[in-house]
Amino acid sequence: MLTQESRPPGATGTRPADGERKVRISRVTPAGVMTVAGAAVGALALVWVLYERVLPFTGVLGFWVCWYLVFLLLYAVMARQQWDQRLARDRVTTVAFATGGMLALAGVFGVVLFALARGHDAVFHVNFFTTSMAFAGPLSPLNVGGVLHAIVGTVEQILIATLISVPLAVSAAVFLAEVGGRLARPVRIIVEAMTALPDIIAGVFVYVAFILALGMQKSGLAAGIALSVNMMPIVARASEVVLRLVPGALREASYALGSSQWRTVLNVVLPTARAGLATAVVLGMARAIGETAPVLLVSGVTKELNLSPVSGPQMSLPLFIWNYGHIEASSSGLVARGFGAAVALVLVVICLFAIARRIGGRAPGDLSRSQRRRLARSAVSR
């Protein structure tokens, strides 16, 4: 069992028998690698001469953009000399797509690493996580004041948002996947459209409907409601996808045993999709926790710790960054606090994300290792 699991999936059936050898279909050849490297180095040298010495160009980014274009050109020429046209075109597109993927990856890592690098000044002070900004002025050193009030606010607001949006979102997903009907199509399209809604619209909506119309004061509760408007469609869409993956045979087995639809959904469909649903919820939380625009208008700004979400303004981490990270608003000490809060926020998002990958990533009905063990134990004891 163990040896089978350690091998890559699909390898079990293609075990080479005696006398048969597996054909290697690797596309990485020394010639191919050297062509890429040669084109890269050649382009670097050519662009350096032209860009820095011959032509009156300046600017680092412009240099690399030129380098990339020259590199693609050189690579195309070199490929054309070695291979026929079809193969050359294939190689050039491969390189172009690979660089696209790398550029996208560089974006993620650049953003995250930059926040971590600039925020380390603030986060290595313990008081940064244990005190609020109540007694810290704009010129206070970093060992006074912190983001405790913002962390508390973020946690409370995201819990409120989750409590409001998850029951609604999962019910809507059950409606889309299990009940259906004429209403399903417009609801699905609106849910899809709402996932890419301007994030500030949720804040504007809560501001208009709850604060202006109902006279509610700016508070953590209002921020939680605004976040739930953003979170709901995300969770609903992801949950519907998960519910659709539940095998129809399980439902039919349940119906064949005479259970009603709601029993089937409650006892068969939802438990089968449990891991996926949890992933959908956690991903929705990860998305909502970083939203600044919805809370900007409705939560109010404070420097003090406010434990109550229903009365008085309540800070949150994104809002903290918004207030302190802005270049005009602040001295460098405050900017450092903003970056510290960014580190805290990024770490929270990455943690939520890791949790989502941990519990999810399996198909519905696919049991985790502990679940399998429990099942085996109960089978043995019987």
Partner: protein, 348 residues
């Protein structure tokens, strides 16, 4: 048996055939009726179904109520400004209109998409077609993580990391490609001329749009039927030939839909835009020139301090933005769901 038709002999077991036969001219309907199939829905199921339907309806109700509240609040602004709301560039308590801020929003979104669509689709193709399986899972996770990175963290990255480094490129573009009207700048060739421009805002927004386009188009590409891929290979296609003839046509609607969702996201991006831009109130298409604006910028920065008429005007602008993005997103969702590739994911 009572059946006297010629067409229905031996078909008693099949209700549809029996029904067909019954409608024939030679039949008398008196002695044979198909067994009616009665689905008895229990009370519990009825309650369950209506509760779930209500939850689904709730989505429509929320969307509708956003629209209703915004329309109701923006009536004073429209009453005061009339049609000039769409032709005025200024935005203050007396004169207001979206003639400058809405084109700016669109301009920033277009810049973001010009960068994000090629990079996003190239990344999606790389992940779904080129990357080895082990790397593929890691890349998918990275792109999903990128979609979850808070926009304010990206905004901070844009303001403190990207903007100082992009100025040289700006100046380079303006000096050597300045004959193209879009890249023209007026003013000395120094940082003051180039900072806080719509181009930089567009680049930062593109960082937020790339993961959306990448993950949506990757999902579509990975659904391209295996049989057709193998057929293309069997006919002697290279990998690029296979992608061009199988994957891209299969995923075309998905790519269009993903780009439109990205457009909606770019139009509505608030935080990154607010961090980068410095507000100006006359539209200029010179993207490298310092200064810009957007609907979301105005709302985020001025709504709370606005007087009642200006607030109404800002909410009217929000309403226009909401209707626009909702329209774009709905069309995108329909394009995706109508397509061949979308049919498998969202079929009833």
């Amino acid at each position: 048996m009572g059946l006297r038709g010629t067409a229905a002999e031996g078909e008693e077991g099949n209700p549809t055939m029996a029904a067909l036969a019954r409608s024939g001219p030679t039949l008398t309907p008196d002695d044979d009726k198909p067994r009616p199939i009665v689905v008895r829905v229990s009370t519990g199921d009825l309650i369950f179904r209506s509760a779930m339907r209500a939850a689904g309806l709730m989505v429509l109700v929320i969307t509708a109520s956003i629209l209703i509240f915004l329309v109701a609040r923006s009536i004073p602004a429209f009453r005061s400004a009339g049609f000039s709301f769409f032709t005025t560039s200024q935005f203050n308590g007396y004169q207001f209109g979206i003639a400058a801020i809405l084109p700016f929003s669109v301009l920033i979104a277009v810049i973001a998409l010009v960068i994000a669509i090629p990079v996003g689709i190239a990344a999606a193709l790389f992940i779904s077609e080129y990357a080895p399986p082990g790397l593929r899972r890691a890349l998918i996770a990275a792109i999903d993580l990128m979609a979850a990175v808070p926009s304010i963290v990206v905004a901070v990255f844009g303001l403190y990391f990207l903007m100082p480094r992009i100025l040289g490129f700006d100046s380079w573009l303006a000096q050597h490609l300045g004959f193209i009207p879009v890249f023209r700048v007026t003013g000395p060739n120094s940082a003051v001329t180039y900072v806080q421009s719509t181009f930089i805002a567009g680049v930062v927004v593109s960082l937020l749009v790339i993961p959306i386009i990448t993950s949506l188009s990757r999902q579509v590409f990975s659904q391209a039927p295996q049989g057709e891929r193998e057929a293309a290979y069997a006919l002697g296609a290279t990998r690029w030939g296979m992608i061009r003839t199988v994957v891209l046509p299969y995923g075309r609607a998905g790519m269009i839909g993903a780009s439109m969702l990205g457009l909606g996201r770019a139009l509505g991006e608030t935080i990154a835009v607010s961090f980068i831009l410095t507000p100006i109130y006359s539209f200029s298409p010179h993207v490298l020139q310092s200064g810009g604006n957007s609907v979301t910028y105005m709302i985020a920065n001025y709504l709370l301090d606005a007087g009642s008429l200006e607030r109404s005007a800002l909410l009217a602008a929000a309403m226009v933005l909401f209707v626009m993005t909702l329209g774009i997103n709905v069309v995108a969702a329909i394009v995706i769901s109508r397509s061949r590739s979308g049919a498998t994911t969202a079929a009833d």
